[in-house]
């Protein structure tokens, strides 16, 4: 894809994203009248007292953080997926494979069973995710074989083991409320998001995002293959470790706030390749934007369709699976 076409594409998507954000701010169970939103915004800009206190709280304390969070989390998960798929040259890899989501689920389930507060659940989830990645990374070291295949295998092993532990936690949880809380967490939701949580995950995700986009050219070279990349002078081990670290950090931050969200890290990179080609320097920013837009759409549907919050994984699954079939039928599953 030529540079000028790419620039137009990115501009178009950014404009679309801005429109989506404005629409999402106006949608919700309380009121969907854009005039109400406009009145509150106007008052805030001018510095007057707000005409509608409930609308003000909802706009700035409920909808705005959720919109921001869904953009951030969507970008983080999609970019992680794109990185893994490029490094491991495997179109079926998603951010979950290395065990981050499963480890975070274990941490969150343990905190729920122990009856801890929401902030502690988030902390436990993050710690669980990081520990799972460290475990998955240590198995190749034990086997003294750090090839891609060994990393994938150890990711599968750790994910499977973590899922078994989640089974134990679900079995011992209190059926009346804890079990539902664990199941809800495993399906993903931004309903309980607060601004403190949002601010805590924004710096690491943004930092990792920027770093990965800056390194995207080198990841291109990595896509040729390990041997070829080495002969071209690239320090393969260091780059791969850094990339996996950044991707895992982004995924852990995203998952510890929203719970486990599936499919998005798998599908969006493929969609990005479909419209933008496989050049990582172009693909990575594109994937981040597309992921943010998709997550925004999903979260807005989740909180407006019915009076109860629909878990996010249900919506991502329902929308992604047919799309994946379509992608397969168009034979567009390329990685390079």
């Amino acid at each position: 894809m030529s540079n000028s076409k790419y620039a137009t594409l990115m501009l178009g998507i950014t404009v679309l994203l801005a429109l989506m954000v404005l629409t999402a701010l106006c949608l919700g169970r309380y009121s969907i009248n854009p005039i109400d939103v406009w009145n509150v915004l106007k008052a805030k800009l001018v510095g007057e007292a707000t005409p509608d206190e409930a609308m003000h709280n909802i706009l700035f304390l409920v909808r705005l953080p959720r919109v921001a969070a869904s953009l951030l989390i969507g970008a983080a998960l999609s970019l992680s997926g794109a990185i893994y798929q490029s490094i491991f040259r495997n179109p079926l890899i998603s951010p979950d494979f290395i065990g981050v989501s499963s480890g975070a689920s274990v941490g969150a389930s343990a905190a729920i069973v122990m009856g801890l507060s929401l902030q502690t659940v988030q902390l436990f989830a993050f710690t669980g995710g990081v520990l799972a990645v460290l475990l998955a990374a240590s198995i190749p070291k034990l086997m003294r074989n750090s090839s891609n295949l060994m990393l994938v295998l150890s990711g599968i092993i750790i994910s499977g083991f973590m899922d078994a532990i989640i089974g134990i936690l679900r079995f011992t949880s209190r059926e009346s409320d804890q079990l539902a809380a664990i199941v809800f967490w495993q399906m993903g939701s931004l309903a309980k998001l607060d601004t403190a949580q949002l601010f805590s995950i924004t710096p690491p995700i943004l930092a990792a995002l920027i770093l990965m986009i800056a390194l995207s050219w080198r990841i291109n070279i990595l896509s040729f293959g390990e041997q070829e990349a080495k002969t071209l002078g690239l320090n393969v081990t260091r780059l791969r470790t850094l990339a996996i670290l950044c991707a895992s950090l982004m995924t852990a931050c995203a998952v510890c706030v929203s719970g486990k969200i599936g499919w998005i890290g798998l599908i969006i990179p493929h969609f990005g390749r479909l419209i933008g080609g496989s050049d990582n320097t172009k693909l990575m920013p594109l994937t981040a934007l597309l992921g943010g837009a998709f997550m925004l759409l999903i979260d807005t549907l989740a909180r407006t369709l019915t009076s109860a919050e629909i878990p996010l994984s249900i919506l991502t699954g329902l929308m992604s699976a047919p799309f994946f079939v379509w992608l397969l039928s168009r034979n567009r599953l390329k990685v390079l």
Binding site: R29, A54, L149, A164, G167, D177, D194, A308
Partner: protein, 478 residues
């Protein structure tokens, strides 16, 4: 190099299979029906192999235990009961006495020439050339007999159907439950259901097996101190350890309607089961539960006394609430999250409305517990008072300090209250709801009813049921 790759590929396949299995099992939905009891044949409590008919041991083949069902040889037992037994080879049926016919493979007993058919547990089968029937055949198939396991022996007794001692009810699941004499040893795993037994017993005197002890609450420390050390936990929720129930000699299992399918698990080993707590809760269903279990325990008078007190209190509450001039907008939040509410189907909503308040979340769709809603809906409803359960996993502070809730009237007036009591939940489906109702009225309309009067009501109730009185601190009243 090729050999290494093949080994690695094989390893990959094995690990994939290994890795997938726990994931599949862990992500499978929790089973909604009772799992088959997993008791090894030689450990179920039919240890001695003796069969006693009306107290006399008979010469008969050993009882057989298969898949948690006790099977007994029909011929020897029927002949000991003076019933002739004839085998019909052409349709594989057995004629017992003059009127009964049963078939191999059919769990039905036909009597009076096919006029009546009664169903009982699993079907009869042939073992070693003999016809075996399940133990529930004598409890639910034949009339006038009862069969159970005592001290490792199978005991079958003829009971006089009109004997003064036998008690019978039709439980919530429309099952007819007949006991030869009132039950004295109850087991259960659902705590609100067990609470009914404790109320009727004025303590734990009828219970020999309990559910999750961690959920027992403070009240039991005072009225049921033996629970902590002397009473075994025979299961938790849906998971029942049937062997423990047999070991403690249970003669009745009590269940809520949502666990009604577990009744078979008990009946297959000769323990009668009664479903006494319905899913939809109201003041009427509380009285029904007390009446049903009261009959099974032979405590009819006490059940009537408690229900009469309960009725009196509900009527008094309605009268007082009728004097309120304005209806307060209230909401009752759920236990696991402040973003869940009690809708019109829940007991908590009935209590709010009876106390003269309006439940702003009444019309939220759904049933079977607290319903999750969006925070925007709660802000839109703008309740004047918020109640949270005593067993909530969040605090009043969490709500008052949440900036998104700050526009709600109840938060501005700091009218967020924990529903009593510290001793036991007054919003569980038991007669304690009468005290919860009085507390609600006093909280909503202090000028109509004072907290002192609520304290008097509480002590009146606890005196009646347990013979004990409690202080304001113990009750956690405000």
């Amino acid at each position: 190099m090729k050999k290494g790759k093949r080994t690695l590929a094989l390893l990959l396949v094995m690990i994939l299979a290994f890795g997938m299995t726990p994931a599949v099992i862990a992500s499978a939905p929790m089973p909604i029906s009772a799992p088959a009891p997993d008791v090894p044949v030689d450990q179920i409590a039919v240890t001695t192999g003796e069969i006693l008919i009306n107290g006399v041991q008979i010469n008969a083949p050993r009882p057989s235990v298969k898949d948690g069902v006790i099977l007994l040889p029909i011929r020897q037992i029927a002949e000991a009961l003076d019933l002739a037994v004839t085998w019909q080879g052409n349709d594989r049926s057995v004629t017992i006495g003059d009127a009964y016919v049963l078939w191999i493979g059919k769990p039905q007993l036909s009597s009076d020439g096919g006029l009546t058919t009664r169903e009982f547990g699993p079907a009869p089968e042939i073992i070693d050339g003999r016809t075996y029937v399940p133990i529930s055949f004598f409890n639910f198939g034949l009339t006038g007999f009862s069969a159970s396991v005592e001290d490792g022996k199978v005991v079958v007794n003829a009971i006089d159907g009109t004997s003064a001692a036998s008690v019978t009810i039709t439980d919530i699941a429309n099952r007819s439950v007949t006991l030869p004499k009132p039950a004295t040893k109850l087991v259960g795993t659902h705590n609100p259901t067990l609470n009914i037994a404790i109320i009727l017993g004025g303590g734990g005197k009828y219970l020999v097996g309990f559910g999750n002890k961690n959920m027992a609450g403070n009240l039991y420390q005072y009225v049921y101190p033996e629970l902590a050390d002397d009473v075994p936990q025979v299961g938790m929720g849906r998971n029942v350890n049937i062997e423990s129930c047999l070991a403690v000699g249970a003669d009745l299992a009590i269940l809520p309607q949502r666990f009604a399918d577990e009744a078979n698990v008990f009946e297959n080993v000769g323990i009668p089961a009664a479903v006494i707590l319905p899913n939809n809760e109201s003041f009427e269903t509380i009285k029904t539960s007390i009446t049903l279990l009261g009959t099974l325990l032979g405590e009819d008078n006490r059940a009537k006394e408690i229900n009469a007190y309960f009725d009196g209190k509900i009527n008094a509450a309605k009268e007082i609430a009728g004097k309120a001039d304005a209806q307060v907008k209230a909401i009752y939040l759920g236990s696991s999250s402040q973003l869940s509410v009690a809708n019109g189907a829940m007991l908590q909503s009935l209590m709010l409305e009876t106390a003269g308040a309006v439940n702003v979340a009444k019309d939220v769709a759904g049933s079977g517990g607290f319903i999750d809603v969006s925070v925007e809906e709660i802000i839109g409803w703008n309740p004047e008072i918020i109640y949270i359960p005593a067993y909530a996993s969040y605090t009043v502070e969490d709500i008052l300090s949440d900036a998104a809730w700050s526009s709600i009237q109840a938060v501005k007036d700091k009218k967020v209250f924990i529903f009593p009591s510290a001793l036991e939940p007054w919003d569980y489906p038991t007669p304690s709801t009468s005290m919860g109702l009085m507390w609600l009225i006093s909280n909503l309309y202090p000028e109509l009813y004072s907290m002192d009067q609520v304290l008097d009501d509480a002590n009146e109730y606890y005196e009646l049921v347990y013979g004990q009185r409690f202080t304001v601190e113990q009750l956690g009243l405000r």
